[in-house]
Subunit: 498 residues, 2 copies
């Protein structure tokens, strides 16, 4: 049996199966865990294949934000009304252009139920709102803003905070996976670790009936009587695929695990699956959010290009995909000092001057460009507004000498607040494109029909994101559509209703 490539093999080539199950789930991140839980609870014998030693994946390393709304108990307790309609309007705008509205609609309409499901799995959410712009709040508050209250989104949808967070101080992805993992362990799911799926088994009717994996160097084949769900991550660790589909991501810090090598996408494509939006990505700039919001952010031409108080994830995407790099935070001393040292991510101005003209020259920006930008900004800031980019009034204030600037696109290691060092790593990137799926998690083939017996969720599938990215939408759509894929697989026999 050849395993050196990604194309499916036939059941005849398998011979005797190493194991049998109803539903085989590939990958033990948030999508795979959710899929396995729902499949087993629907009565299907379920096996979860994980390449590493345990559950977690990139989900466990993440900040833990889960984008939820429509009036969750946490939103209500914090004093916010919300509805699926307002959530749809926000996500369609913030994740576009090109966002998948059918998928977003399903996601938002099911969001309240999904919150309760997560809570039922033991994921704890504290009723408290972190009000400040942040990547990850320093508290265990269960709610944060994700740009809903910034321009232009407050004009598009009634603002409500929807960034839900497991009750953890700082990063909380570990806690989400801790709880989902505990539920998997308690369940009837058969967890098979150290087992890396490599290709699918497809019969002559083009139905997916199993998986070929590698376990301790040996071939391990699993017959799946009902279906295979691929939740094997994205492709940011596959440079050849990045060069093919999203070359701007090359050379930046990869966010994820080495499992994000695109294999899950390729093995499904080799079975006839279509892909969508393979250039889509998150490109988060490692920028201190509080400094950013108080700064004038300029591109290499010395121009502003986005409201500095918008959601941080959108700033990096605009900078990288809008061809603005390198970009600089221009600050005055008062704004810099206003931000607590532990919120600065170790960033200090590389240039400090008494005039904008000197600053412009030291950075190497075109003659007059930064002066022109700051003049215009200050002129309006004196009146307390920003008609060009619409930064919220509370953060608009004329910059006064001395001035400083930070190149936030640089990779550098700098002293941290705690006496140690902090890596400032420019852009942190991952992919959000992947397999085309229905809102039930069925993988679509190149003719637009479901591949019988094949499902996908998480970053193996094209997400609800397209041109934009909002944190919480990856754990959000991974768990949400992972559950749906689990239920759909459990209800079918390799494509035929069970």
């Amino acid at each position: 049996m050849r395993t050196e490539d990604v194309f499916p093999i036939s059941p005849d080539e398998v011979g005797e199966w190493s194991a049998e199950t109803d539903v085989a789930v590939i990958g033990g991140g948030c999508a795979g865990a959710s899929a396995a839980l729902e499949a087993t609870r629907a009565g299907a014998a379920t096996m979860l294949l994980e390449g590493t030693g345990g559950l977690g994946g990139a989900s466990a390393m993440s900040g833990g934000e889960i984008y939820l709304g429509g009036g969750t108990p946490i939103q209500t307790a914090c004093g916010y009304d919300d509805s699926p309609e307002e959530m749809i309007k926000f996500l369609a705008a913030a994740l576009g252009p090109g966002a998948d509205e059918e998928r977003i609609t399903a996601y938002c309409e099911g969001s309240l139920e999904h919150f309760h499901w997560l809570a039922d799995q033991g994921v704890p959410f504290k009723a408290g709102l972190w009000e400040q712009p942040a990547w990850v709040p320093p508290t265990d508050d269960g709610l944060m803003w994700m740009g809903e209250n910034t321009y232009p989104y407050y004009e598009i949808a009634t603002p409500a905070p929807r960034g839900h967070r497991p009750r953890s101080t700082g990063h909380g992805g570990w806690l989400l996976m801790d709880q989902l993992g505990a539920r998997v362990t308690e369940s009837d799911v058969r967890l098979v670790t150290g087992t890396r799926a490599e290709r699918l088994v497809m019969d002559r009717d083009r139905r997916v009936v199993g998986v070929v994996a590698r376990r301790l160097g040996e071939v391990f084949t699993v017959r799946a009587r009902q279906g295979v769900i691929v939740c094997a991550g994205g492709f940011v660790f596959n440079d050849a695929m990045l060069a093919e589909h999203s070359p701007l991501l090359l050379g930046h810090r990869k966010v994820g695990t080495e499992g994000d090598d695109g294999r899950g996408i390729l093995m499904a494509q080799a079975a006839g699956a279509q892909v969508r939006r393979m250039s889509a990505a998150q490109a988060g700039l490692t920028v201190p959010i509080q400094l950013l919001a108080r700064s004038v952010l300029v591109n290499r031409h010395g121009q502003r290009f986005i409201n500095e108080d918008t959601y941080g994830g959108l700033v990096g995407l605009a900078a990288l995909f809008g061809d603005h790099t390198p970009v600089y935070l221009v600050l005055d001393e008062a704004s810099y000092e206003e931000v607590p040292e532990n919120e600065r991510l170790g960033r200090t101005p590389a240039w400090v001057t008494e005039t904008v003209a000197e600053l412009e020259k030291e950075i190497g920006l075109p003659d007059g460009a930064l002066q022109s930008t700051i003049d215009l900004y200050n002129r309006h800031a004196k009146l307390g507004h920003d008609p060009q980019f619409h930064k919220r009034a509370a953060l608009v204030r004329p910059l006064r000498p001395p001035f400083g600037a930070i190149n936030v696109c640089m990779n550098e290691v700098v002293p941290g607040a705690d006496g140690g060092s902090v890596a400032n790593t420019g852009f942190g990137v991952f992919t959000t494109g992947g397999l085309a799926t229905t809102t039930s998690g069925e993988v679509l083939d190149l003719a637009g029909e479901p591949v019988a017996g094949l499902y996908a969720a998480g970053r193996t599938a094209a997400g609800i994101q397209a041109g934009g990215y909002i944190s919480g939408t990856s754990l959000g759509d991974g768990t949400f559509f992972g559950r749906r894929a689990g239920r759909a697989a459990a209800a079918h026999l390799n494509g035929v209703p069970a």
Copy 2:
């Protein structure tokens, strides 16, 4: 036999073939014609399947520019030295980021030979240079600039004009196809028109051995003993594929023919082929180039974003993919009058004012933004330079009242210079991503290996373009790699050296 989908069928399912040949070429544009000519001259029985009534395709509708260099006789006669090395440097920069350097290198190293081949087919080139920026020159000069002499490219590579043009006043794509078509007709190629390929025939060893087409409503199957070459155009006429891969192109004017429906790409993907850079495109703004070069081009924030004298194709791409739209040409009366009426594409200023402040207000740009931009531009223009965007000195001159502005992103029908009407259609778009191929035209599968017996060229294949676009590179890489695919197919028997 099912023909409603795109997946390959087996030879058993075909039964009796309608026709047999050595090499089957799908599509009669410039790539398919070039492929067929080279295959037949290499001794292979060659059949060319074309969906419409005759050869031509999108190539015949095009301007006719062919990007060639390395010291062609036309370049030499016009007084320019050139080398493959300088050509590589320019294209790698102008077609990036993410351009395929291996493919560009092959293209540039073979360019001089390719010029002679085109001339040998009867494509006439006149030794004359059109010096002005233009989409399509009004003369029959054989050479034009494609941005090689604009910033930043003159710093990256020694400038030489490389836009070669068949000897036609205005558009010349018809003349290229007239000559290639005549050579096909004279040759041993069996041309089968009105015959639309729908899917491939693949044997159990995953070798492509034929084509299933539809001819006058009937199924028409062609056995190809040596290989199939897909030259069936891009996918700009397939809105579902645009939504999947390049949603920013939706809603704009499509450049190509209805044959650019992505079918060629899909039928190869269904046979295991991989795709590359499916979001890549040309997005040409229907803007009078001479007005553009004399204007200050600003985005919806009232800011400049590119040197107005760069190659026109790069302006539209930057505007659309850089999120700058709508964009406006800001001009003074003197500059407007300087451009002959027949070069204005019927564009007249929608707004005319005595001050920039009034103009800004009438357009609806943010308060002070356009004033700030024009102040900075004028301050430098008085000194004859443009340090922010590097428009060439000869075109830099302070704008003086009265001022006017044109929204060039608008679709509108306006009176033309000849008394008729001219459609100003905002962005004209087409796709440049597609199948992954080797520099010999072999289609690569998802594991990176050639699909035995399958070749592609033209816009069905991912081109030498990625983030950028230079006119002439489509006819250029279509004919160049089409020839290579024809020779490669003629030298093999469904993947095995003949």
